[in-house]
Symmetry: C2
Subunit: 418 residues, 2 copies
């Protein structure tokens, strides 16, 4: 079979499986999830053996230590994947909920009901646990999923997907509910993206090149999980001790994630006091400060910020810092250079805060809290498929509800249109 | 300026206008709408003169009478457009509504708030009143809009858009809130579809060629308003008098629209009785019945249905008719051949009805009512931008709420992540 035929066949099977999945009860789906978790644990020897092949290849090709660490499965990580699945089984099932319901003057009763989307394509890089995390959320919401992981984890991903599909089938779920593209050929991404008759939405999780490839080729909606160029604005009315805590937390607690900040904007009225204290604390934490001219006057150790720095997701201990003369200038900077992900204001002034919350066009906007809370778990969603940087369908943390859509069910007694 | 520069400049201006629009109050937006309606009425002589140029060109190029009728503006139609705008001004504004709100154990308060999408691209064919209808719904929801109408209505569309923009500006709304692409060059559609830095979503309204052009080129989400291949299934437990009313209404009340039916499926147990009565009534209404072999045995005047007929949106007085042996067969037919728009079951059996409502994967599914109710007005939305045949973001009738998205606003007291 050609690659094109393989992918088309996967799509066809996924569509058929999605119709079966949509008819399952919550109890049936949860039983499937528990069987998937059990099967993953039983398959541990296989998973570790297959993963060892990937790790060996990664070492041979000179992948970085950090990348190899993300790729490596351990018994503890397998247990943790299985625990993750059991956790999802305990979450409420959004499918079937009546979102709203009303009766028209002619007596027809309209119900807006939550239903699965259908078939979801997930295209991701490196970490094999995404195979399990993503597949499980799709199963819980009655969606069939086609997964396409990074080439460096292909053996691990195939083993995980096979274990999940086996567990699902054992519990009576359709065997094609979870499918993984069995090749690392890049052409597969293009073929998936063109198959809008079988895939309802594609969620790419990865770097710019991956997302660009998907967006360019996709005929169906794409929900991008893109970068986070996030900022904290320290207003003239900020509590500076609070500002210090928030800036240090948002920059240093876990700098490699999308909801960490890359930029701090400080009002000129409080810049000297802020940088005197927080500047030193940041440097002590190993943060490199890249400042504009005024910041460099206040922080001797700061290096010059280039224009490019304002538009960069550093994902490491680097912070671009700028002094602004007004709230408007701060908002303008964020709107121009940020990625509309997560941005915060620190201020004791509710008028400034509300202006910021309303005017900054980001998925998540904060008043007096760290941007690090943009996360399905921190939101209380119990799980997350990622953080959408798109505006349509799902924005910000994306969990079970965001993996559903709706239909209108209308009940009448013979009404016709006049 | 090249076409590319013109389109880019429009995008840039629309983005800037969208930020202003998002900050307007409901009162300000409604004042803008009323000024737009007034301006449209004042501009009547210009509108009619510009429209006459389009109509003349259409006649010269041999456009059909029906097409020319759809294109033609009259004083009454101008008044009706203005009335439509005033009606939208009276509707509730969805922007700013708190969709949900909750507090986390750490004390941060999360609000999911309805906000404008930003910039909406609308690409449509022929009827000039779409220019006004679509622009006005975008303005009401605080979105900037870039319109691209059909070439045959270019002078009418430019005149309408100019009047609306003038009215909007007079009431203090940004002058670039409403822009119309001033050329009929087809390249413009491609340029718009590639401009995802400035346009957040494109809504194409038109035939297959237009939608295909947009979907292939679009980098941003597209909400398709595609065809309606809708069916009524007459179950074995149907009230046949009710079935007759519904089938006749759904087929003949206005055959040229997307929520009219193209197909009737009849359970074999009631086929004879149904066709004896309703077959004759349909023929009397001028409907051509294209039946399978069993239908043709019951309706002498029926012509043979081809395989293609099951997949065709006739938009005229033609009805494909098939006898099925079970509910399952009916659902299978609809899922295979329908366009997932609007489908109905007529039955007195609630079990069959609920199975149909749950298993038919269409935007709107009916039990004992005509499919003709799939309409923003009939739903009570007060207006509609169209009927989405997509599953994501908006499904079925699309009105004001569907022209918005959400953001999360988070209010804290200095919380950081541990």
């Amino acid at each position: 079979m050609s690659l094109q035929e393989t992918i088309l066949e996967m799509g066809k099977r996924a569509r058929a499986a999605s119709k079966e999945l949509a008819r399952l009860t919550t109890v049936q789906k949860n039983a499937g999830l528990l069987a998937m978790a059990d099967e993953l644990v039983s398959a541990e020897p296989t998973l570790l053996a297959e993963n060892a092949r990937d790790v060996e290849a990664a070492r041979a090709s000179g992948l970085s230590k950090a990348m190899i660490d993300r790729l490596t499965l351990t018994p503890a990580r397998v247990v943790s994947m299985a625990e993750g699945i059991r956790q999802v089984a305990t979450l409420p099932d959004p499918v079937g909920a009546n979102i709203t319901q009303w009766t028209r003057p002619n007596g027809i009763e309209i119900s807006k009901v939550r239903v699965p989307i259908g078939v979801i394509g997930i295209i991701f890089e490196s970490r094999p646990n995404v195979t399990s995390d993503a597949a499980v959320l799709c199963t819980k919401t009655g969606n069939a999923v086609i997964l396409r992981g990074g080439s460096e984890a292909i053996h691990s991903n195939l083993a995980i997907a096979a274990a999940l599909a086996k567990g699902a089938a054992r519990a009576g779920l359709p065997a094609d509910a979870i499918q993984l593209v069995p090749t690392t050929d890049r052409e597969a991404v293009k073929l998936l993206a063109g198959m809008d008759q079988f895939i309802d939405v594609i969620i790419p999780r990865g770097g710019r090149a991956l997302i660009e490839a998907v967006v360019s080729a996709a005929r169906m909606p794409v929900i991008k999980h893109y970068n986070g160029i996030c900022a904290v604005y320290v207003d003239k009315a900020a509590d500076l001790a609070m500002a210090r805590n928030i800036v240090i937390n948002a920059k240093t607690q876990r700098p490699g994630v999308c909801n960490a900040i890359e930029t701090v904007l400080v009002h000129s009225d409080v810049a000297e006091a802020f940088f005197k204290d927080t500047g030193a604390a940041l440097l002590e934490k190993g943060v490199q400060i890249r400042g504009d001219a005024r910041v460099r006057e206040l922080v001797a150790a700061a290096v010059p910020a280039t224009e490019e720095d304002w538009n960069t997701e550093f994902l490491e201990l680097i912070l671009a810092a700028k002094i602004v003369n007004s709230l408007d200038e701060a908002i303008e900077h964020i709107e121009t250079h940020g990625s509309h992900h997560s941005d915060a204001i620190v201020t004791a002034d509710p008028v400034a805060a509300e202006a910021f919350l309303n005017r900054v066009d980001s998925a998540t906007v904060y008043w007096n809290a760290s941007t690090r809370f943009t996360d399905g778990g921190e939101f209380g969603f119990g799980a997350e498929i990622g953080i959408s940087t798109d505006k349509l369908h799902a924005r910000g943390p994306m969990a079970l509800e965001e993996l559903t859509t709706y239909k209108y069910q209308i009940r009448g007694t013979g009404q016709i249109r006049g």
